[in-house]
C-alpha cells in the first residue's frame, strides 16, 4: 500500500515534465509541486500537451498545474490530487522547501540544473545524518533517445558519479579551422560568435533572442560563407538558431517513454518494489533502429566529489 502522505516535486514542466505530471496524477500522488522558470512558446506545443496556443507567453509551471487541478482527480487515500506551481529558478529553492518531499522527479534539459539539485540533495542527507534521504529520478530525452537515472543519496550513484560519461553539450571545433579554414556552416557560425561579435561589439554579449543580434548573425553568416565558398542556402533561420541554441530535437513519443520509465521507478519506490542497493539505477533508451533499452547498475564512485563523503 502506498502512503497517501507521499509528496513529489517535479523539476521542469517541459516535454518530460508534462508527461511526468500527468503520470503522477493518474498514479494518485495527492501532493505534487512543480518548478519551472520558462514561459510557453509555440514550438513547445508539439509535445507539451498541458498547454494550448492561447497559453503562449504564460509560465509553464502555472498553466500545467492549473490544467491538472481543473480535472479534479482523486488520489491515494481518497485525497484530491493537487499540483502547486512554482514559477522560479530551481537552484534558488531553499533546503527547507526541498526537505518536505518524499521524492523528486526531474525532466530537465540542462546538465547544470541537474548537478545543482543533485549536490543539494546529497548535502541534505549528509547534514541530517541520513534522517533525510530524498531519491532523485532523472529523465532526459534527445530525439528518439533518452535515459533514466535513479539517484538515492548515500545508497546509489549520484549524478556527479556518472559525470565523466557525459558527452560535451556543444560540439566544438579547432579555433584555427574556424578562423582560417572554415569548411562547414557550423565553422562560420562559431567564428562569428566567438571572435567577430566581440570585435564588433566589445561592450555587449551576444543574445540570440534579441532580433537585432540574430539578424546580425544571419547577415554576417551569409557574407562569411560566401567568402569561403560554403553553400549559403544552408543558412536558414531555423538552421542558424539550431546551432546557436544547441536545439535538441524532441518528439512526444520519446518523452512519453522516458517519463513513464521515471514514473515506473516512482511506483516501485512508493510500493517498496525497489531494492535500494541492487536495482538497476541507470537505463538508456534508443528508438532509432527498432527499439532498445539497456539497464544496468552504475556503481558509486568512492572518490566522487559530491557524494564520496557520504559513507
Amino acid at each position: 500500500m502506498a502512503d497517501p502522505a507521499t509528496s513529489v516535486l517535479v523539476l521542469g514542466a517541459g516535454g518530460l515534465g508534462c508527461e511526468i505530471l500527468k503520470n503522477l496524477a493518474f498514479q494518485g500522488v495527492p501532493t505534487i509541486h512543480v518548478v519551472d522558470m520558462d514561459i510557453i512558446e509555440l514550438s513547445n506545443l508539439n509535445r507539451q500537451f498541458l498547454f494550448e496556443e492561447k497559453d503562449i507567453g504564460q509560465p509553464k509551471a502555472v498553466i500545467a498545474a492549473r490544467y491538472i487541478n481543473e480535472k479534479h482527480l482523486i488520489g491515494l487515500g481518497d485525497r484530491p490530487v493537487c499540483v502547486t506551481a512554482h514559477f522560479q529558478d530551481l537552484t534558488l529553492l531553499s533546503d527547507s522547501f526541498l526537505s518536505q518531499f518524499t521524492l523528486i522527479v526531474s525532466g530537465l534539459d540542462s546538465i547544470q540544473a541537474r548537478r545543482a539539485i543533485n549536490s543539494r540533495l546529497v548535502r541534505l542527507t549528509f547534514d541530517s545524518g541520513y534522517e533525510k534521504c530524498i531519491p532523485l529520478i532523472d529523465g532526459g530525452s534527445d530525439g528518439l533517445q533518452g535515459h533514466c537515472k535513479v539517484i538515492i543519496p548515500g545508497f546509489a550513484a549520484c549524478y556527479e558519479c556518472s559525470l565523466a560519461t557525459l558527452p560535451p553539450e556543444n560540439e566544438s571545433y579547432p579555433l584555427c579551422t574556424v578562423a582560417n579554414n572554415p569548411r562547414l556552416p557550423e565553422h562560420v557560425i562559431e567564428y562569428l560568435l566567438t571572435v567577430q561579435w566581440a570585435q564588433e561589439h566589445p561592450d555587449r554579449s551576444f543574445d540570440y533572442s534579441v532580433d537585432e543580434h540574430f539578424q546580425w548573425l544571419l547577415n554576417r553568416s551569409l557574407e562569411r560563407a560566401a567568402l569561403f565558398k560554403i553553400d549559403t542556402s544552408k543558412f536558414t533561420a531555423s538552421f542558424v538558431l539550431g546551432v546557436v541554441k544547441n536545439i535538441v530535437p524532441s518528439v512526444a513519443s520519446t518523452n512519453a517513454i522516458i517519463a513513464a520509465q521515471c514514473c515506473n521507478e516512482v511506483s516501485k519506490l512508493m510500493y517498496n518494489d525497489y531494492d535500494i542497493e541492487t536495482s538497476n539505477n541507470f537505463m538508456v533508451y534508443n528508438g532509432q533502429d527498432g527499439c532498445f533499452t539497456y539497464a544496468f547498475v552504475h556503481e558509486r564512485r568512492p572518490d566522487c566529489l559530491v557524494c564520496g563523503e557520504l559513507t
Partner: protein, 432 residues
C-alpha cells in the same frame, strides 16, 4: 518558429507532410488507447479516428482535450466494420484490445498495416502486422561510413582525383581522401599488375609522404589519412546486404502507394546498376565528411562529389521516367542520397499467423497471450491501476513512435514484436 520545429529536425518537412496527411485509426477506449491517441495527435497526424469498443474510460475522456485535437470518436459496429471497405481509407490501424469481436473482424478482412498492442499490469507488447513488406527509405543510421568510393573509384571520380593532384603544388594541405588516392597510386606503381594493396603498404606510404612535407610534426590531415586508410581498401562495388534484400522484393505485389513508389525506384536502381556509367555501383550520396585541409581544396573535393551525385540523379531520374512519370525529382534525389541504407522488413502477414504462434509455450508467447486476454478483464484493482499507470504510458509511447516510423518509412520500425516487462524495466525485441 514553427509549432513542429523540434520534430521536423528528426524527420524533415517531407516526413512531417506525410504525418499531417495521414489517416490513422485507434481501436479501443481504455486509458492505453487514449495515451496512444495523445501521442499521435501531438505530432500532428492529419486525421485520427478513435473507435470505442466498450464504454469509454470517463476519467481519461475528460482529461484529454479531444476536441482541440480534432479526433473523431465513434462506437464499434461489427456489421459496418466487418468489411474491407470501412478500413481502406486508413494508412494504419492501431488495435489496442484483445476483444474477440474485434480480432474476429481482423482475422477475416484484408486491412491496411496494423499495430496490435496491449498492456496488462506491468507487461505489454506491440506487434506489426502487414500483408506486404515494409520499405524504409531513410533509415538514419547513427554511424555511417563516408561514401567516398576510394576502393573502387568510378571513372568520373578517378579522373577528378588525377587532375586534382596534377594541379596540386604542395600536398601538405590536401584533404585525407586525396592523400589516400595519392598514396594508393604510389603503392600501385611499385606493385606487379593485379596485386592488391594491403593496409600495411598504404600506411607506410602515407608516412613516406608526410615525411617529405613535414618530417617533424604530425599534420592533422595525414593523421586523418592514417585513421581512415581502410576506406581506400573497401570494395564498394559489392552491394550491401540490405540493398540486395530490397532489390529482391522489387516485383512482389504491393498495394500501399509508398511501397509501390519504392518498387519503381528499386527497378530503376536495378537498371542504373546495369548501365556502363554506374560501373555496377550505387548512386553517390554526394555528401562528404569534414576533412582537415585548406578550405579551397576541400571545396573542390566537395563540389566533385556533389556534382557527380547530381549527375547520378539526372541519369536515375531518366530511368524512372521511362517507367512512370509521377515520381518527383526530390524523391529521386532523396532515394539516391540514401540508397546505401535503404532497408526492408517483413512484418507478420496475418493476425491468424500471429495468434497461432502464441500457442507455443515460450515465455514470450505466454506474456503476450496473458496480456491480450487479461486486458479485457477490467477487474484490475484501483490500486494496481494507479500503480501500473506508467506501464500503460510507456507502451503507448512505443506504439505511437513505431506508428510514426511506419507511416513516414523513416527509421527501422519494430521487427516485428516488442515485449515490455515493467517489473524489470525491460523492453525486448523478438521475431515471430
Amino acid at each position: 518558429m514553427d509549432k513542429f520545429d523540434r520534430q521536423v529536425r528528426i524527420w524533415g518537412t517531407h516526413g512531417q507532410h506525410i504525418i499531417e496527411t495521414s489517416h490513422v485509426c485507434v481501436v479501443g477506449s481504455s486509458p492505453f488507447a487514449f495515451e496512444i491517441v495523445k501521442n499521435l495527435a501531438l505530432p500532428g497526424i492529419g486525421c485520427l479516428t478513435m473507435i470505442a469498443t466498450n464504454s469509454r474510460d470517463l476519467e481519461q475522456n475528460q482529461f484529454w482535450n479531444m476536441k482541440t485535437w480534432n479526433v473523431t470518436q465513434i462506437d464499434w459496429n461489427a456489421e459496418k466494420m466487418g468489411s474491407d471497405v470501412f478500413w481502406s481509407d486508413f494508412e494504419l490501424i492501431i488495435i489496442t484490445t484483445g476483444q474477440n469481436d474485434v480480432l474476429k473482424v481482423f482475422r477475416q478482412i484484408k486491412s491496411p498495416p496494423v499495430l496490435l498492442c496491449s498492456t496488462s499490469g506491468q507487461n505489454g507488447f506491440v506487434t506489426f502486422l502487414s500483408g506486404e513488406p515494409h520499405f524504409v527509405v531513410e533509415s538514419h543510421p547513427e554511424h555511417t561510413i563516408p561514401d567516398l568510393r576510394l576502393g573502387a573509384l568510378r571513372s568520373d571520380l578517378s579522373q577528378f582525383y588525377s587532375e586534382f593532384l596534377k594541379n596540386t603544388v604542395c600536398i601538405s594541405d590536401l584533404p585525407f581522401a586525396a592523400l589516400l588516392y595519392h598514396a594508393c597510386e604510389n603503392v600501385l606503381k611499385e606493385k606487379k599488375p593485379h596485386q592488391v594493396i594491403n593496409r600495411h603498404d598504404l600506411k607506410d606510404q602515407i608516412n613516406v609522404l608526410q615525411n617529405k612535407v613535414s618530417p617533424n610534426t604530425q599534420l592533422p590531415n595525414f593523421f586523418e589519412a592514417l585513421r581512415f586508410a581502410h576506406l581506400a581498401l573497401e570494395r564498394t562495388e559489392t552491394l550491401p546486404e540490405n540493398v540486395i534484400r530490397c532489390l529482391a522484393l522489387k516485383d512482389v505485389s504491393c498495394q500501399i502507394p509508398f511501397n509501390q513508389n519504392v518498387q519503381t525506384l528499386l527497378r530503376a536502381l536495378s537498371s542504373f546498376l546495369d548501365t556502363p556509367y554506374s560501373e555496377g555501383q550505387l548512386p553517390l550520396a554526394g555528401i562528404i565528411p569534414d576533412m582537415e585541409s585548406s578550405y579551397e581544396m576541400y571545396t573542390a573535393l566537395r563540389n566533385a562529389y556533389s556534382g557527380a551525385a547530381e549527375n547520378d540523379v539526372k541519369i536515375f531520374h531518366n530511368l524512372v521516367s521511362s517507367e512512370v512519370s509521377h515520381i518527383e525529382i526530390d524523391q529521386v534525389k532523396s532515394f539516391c542520397r540514401n540508397c546505401r541504407h535503404i532497408n526492408v522488413i517483413e512484418p507478420i502477414g496475418k493476425l491468424g499467423d500471429f495468434e497461432s504462434v502464441l500457442n507455443d509455450e515460450t515465455t514470450d508467447s505466454t506474456i503476450i497471450k496473458n496480456v491480450l486476454h487479461s486486458c479485457l478483464s477490467e477487474a484490475l484493482k484501483k490500486e494496481d491501476k494507479r500503480r501500473f499507470y506508467p506501464c500503460i504510458s510507456f507502451v503507448a509511447g512505443i506504439a505511437a513512435q513505431e506508428a510514426i516510423k511506419v507511416l513516414t518509412h523513416q527509421f527501422l520500425p519494430l521487427h516485428n514484436t516488442l515485449v515490455y516487462e515493467g517489473e524489470l524495466g525491460r523492453l525486448r525485441s523478438i521475431k515471430i
